[in-house]
């Protein structure tokens, strides 16, 4: 069996009287592409927000590589090795694409403010390393030619990819992608699918929220379905497609069946 990288046990998230997630357990295995799907409002993005520390879970255990991360600060969770992208793009618009990525590579660097001020050899060396690594990252994602353009001026598709590059620049072991294909046309989706596979094959684990079923079915190793904050299916893509509960959640129950 493959090893677990992230395990979420009995996670419940309440906002006042609203239960956004109800006793959800999710296991993410190392090296897989796990898709998280479900109708609007099912709680998919809430799962991401709880994992990355945006929300504090009401109850439950989240452990990443064996250590509990539920009450860690948000930047600590990223430093531990979980990075994410955002459903609505949140790049730093007035930085260039390269600067966006360099800023994210800073996560694990040691030289601090004083080093930067006096141009100590270590700060200088790290600066050059960062830049090289960031450029490599942009090329890996396939947007190397946009390195010197301001993020806000980039085409939409490139912005989406830049978000992925920025997340990867923090050297995560687990990458959370929140609807990376939103607004993409079919050919862009095909390219994205190839990219996500490439990311997985390079050694990252990917947890993915997506609405596009053909994309999901094409690349996922496993699919988890959420509905009204509860997990209703967790299986191979081909089996999930035929699951009665999943079909019901998406399409409703036929009138004559009741």
């Amino acid at each position: 069996m493959s090893t677990t990288i992230l395990s979420i046990e009995n996670l419940t998230m309440k906002f006042g009287g609203v239960t956004a997630l109800n006793d959800v357990s999710i296991n993410v295995n190392k090296g897989e592409i796990l898709a998280l799907i479900g109708p609007n409002g099912a709680g998919k993005t809430t799962v991401f927000n709880v994992i990355t520390g945006v929300y504090r879970a009401t109850s439950g255990v989240i452990s990443f590589e064996g250590s509990e991360i539920r009450n860690q600060a948000r930047f600590k969770i990223t430093q531990l090795g979980i990075a994410r992208t955002f459903q609505n793009i949140r790049l730093w618009g007035e930085m260039t694409a390269l600067e966006n990525v360099i800023t994210a590579t800073d996560v694990h660097k040691k030289s601090g403010l004083v080093g930067a001020l006096f141009g100590m050899p270590r700060a200088r060396r790290e600066e050059l390393e960062d830049r090289k690594r960031a450029l490599e990252m942009l090329k890996f994602i396939g947007i190397g030619e946009y390195a010197d353009r301001l993020a806000k001026n980039l085409p939409y598709g490139v912005q989406r990819r830049l978000e992925i590059a920025r997340a990867l620049a923090t050297s995560p072991r687990l990458l959370l992608l929140d609807e990376p294909a939103a607004g993409f046309n079919p050919s862009e989706k095909v390219e994205l699918a190839a990219l996500i596979k490439k990311i997985r094959d390079t050694g990252y684990t990917v947890l993915l929220i997506e609405h596009d079923m053909s994309l999901i079915m094409g690349i996922s190793d496993r699919v988890i379905v959420l509905d009204f904050g509860a997990k209703i299916a967790d299986d191979l893509p081909s089996k999930v497609q035929k699951d009665a509960k999943v079909i019901e959640a998406y399409l409703g129950v036929p009138a004559d069946a009741s």
Partner: protein
């Protein structure tokens, strides 16, 4: 459109700078610094300030405003936190000089590190609890902090309350350079050196990790934190560095003025310094300098208007902000090719 381009001094300057090589840059920089250092001798022509002494005006308000505006710009411009209590750090520096100068017999240069450190400590103490709030809330908290420092100075016996502290020693002479109240050119040069050090510090940090972290925090703080940037730490650094510059300005101001009193450190000063930053162009150090020079110098230049001068000053500010809402020399991120450049 034509006029706009013609007015674009910022890009004009940036273009010259980018085309120059290292040697040319050193020449441009040293000639500019030399010309600015000559300013105290240019008091007889159009620059003259009626009524006030020209050389004194150059030191305070003009040069000290520039210094403080640069310090405030680290907080407001670089990391996007609205600080309405900046005068507090200036006051802490000034009172450090006043108290230590009159009580211990240390000279200005020996007290300077104390003033800077005390201001930085105040920055950390204020920053730790308050930098968790953002935007307008932060503005209110800092505004309160500025007032607290002033009220403490006003109501404590050890600060001599509203009477203030007199007989603060002047800085000792440096070789042939004599500090003289009737000819303040040496004071001006001193502040000029401090300004240059501050510019060096800001430019250095801007292109490195701290500058990027500040920039990210300013543009989207949540995204910054989720990308692994310890935002609170960098915000406190930004606050503390701004405080250090304010404290240094305060020490020198007290040592030049020979007297400090609580009424010098009102909210007015914070607002004026913020006006320097906003008028010049938030986040752009050259803009901030221009803004501070105008706000420091203009009211003195038009002092002959006597009672209506503040009205005219206000109208000028309104007109400028109307035509240039982003400031005189606004920040603009050019799409510069840092991929090809080395580390400076």
């Amino acid at each position: 459109m034509k006029i706009r381009n013609y007015w674009n001094l910022r890009d004009f300057g940036a273009k010259i700078w980018e085309k120059s090589n290292r040697v040319q840059r050193i020449i441009i920089a040293s000639v500019s610094i030399f010309l600015i250092a000559l300013l105290p001798f240019a008091g007889n022509g159009i620059l003259a300030t009626p009524i006030s002494a020209y050389d004194a005006v150059l030191v305070y308000p003009v040069a000290i405003f520039v210094l403080m505006a640069l310090g405030l710009n680290i907080v407001v411009g670089k990391s996007g936190m609205l600080d309405l209590g900046y005068v507090a750090f200036f006051a802490i520096g000034a009172y450090t000089m006043a108290l230590m100068g009159t009580l211990t017999g240390l000279n200005t240069w020996e007290i300077m590190p104390f003033g800077i450190v005390f201001a930085m400590i105040a920055g950390v103490l204020l920053g730790l609890p308050t930098l968790r709030v953002r935007g307008d809330y932060l503005a209110i908290v800092t505004l309160g902090f500025g007032e607290i420092i002033r009220l403490v100075a006003l109501n404590s016996t050890w600060t001599k309350g509203p009477n203030g502290i007199a007989n603060i020693p002047m800085p000792p002479n440096i070789g042939p350079l004599e500090y003289d109240l009737f000819n303040q050119k040496v004071f001006f040069w001193t502040v000029l050196v401090m300004i240059l050090l501050t510019i060096w510090m800001i430019r250095r940090l801007s292109v490195r990790r701290p500058g990027r972290a500040w920039e990210a925090i300013r543009q989207d703080e949540d995204a910054a934190e989720l990308m692994g940037i310890p935002t609170l730490k960098y915000k406190i650094w930004s606050f503390t560095l701004g405080a250090a510059v304010g404290g240094a300005a305060g020490v020198l101001y007290a040592s030049k003025n020979l007297f400090v009193a609580p009424e010098m450190f009102t909210l007015n000063v914070s607002v004026l310094i913020l006006a320097c930053v906003v008028l010049g162009g938030i986040g752009n150090i050259w803009g901030v300098i221009v803004g501070a020079v105008i706000i420091g110098y203009l009211p003195e230049r038009i002092r002959f208007l006597s009672d209506s001068r503040l009205l005219v000053f206000g109208i000028v500010l309104v007109i400028v902000m109307n035509f240039r809402p982003d400031g005189l020399l606004p920040r603009k991120k050019r799409e510069k090719a840092i991929t090809k450049k080395g580390v400076n």
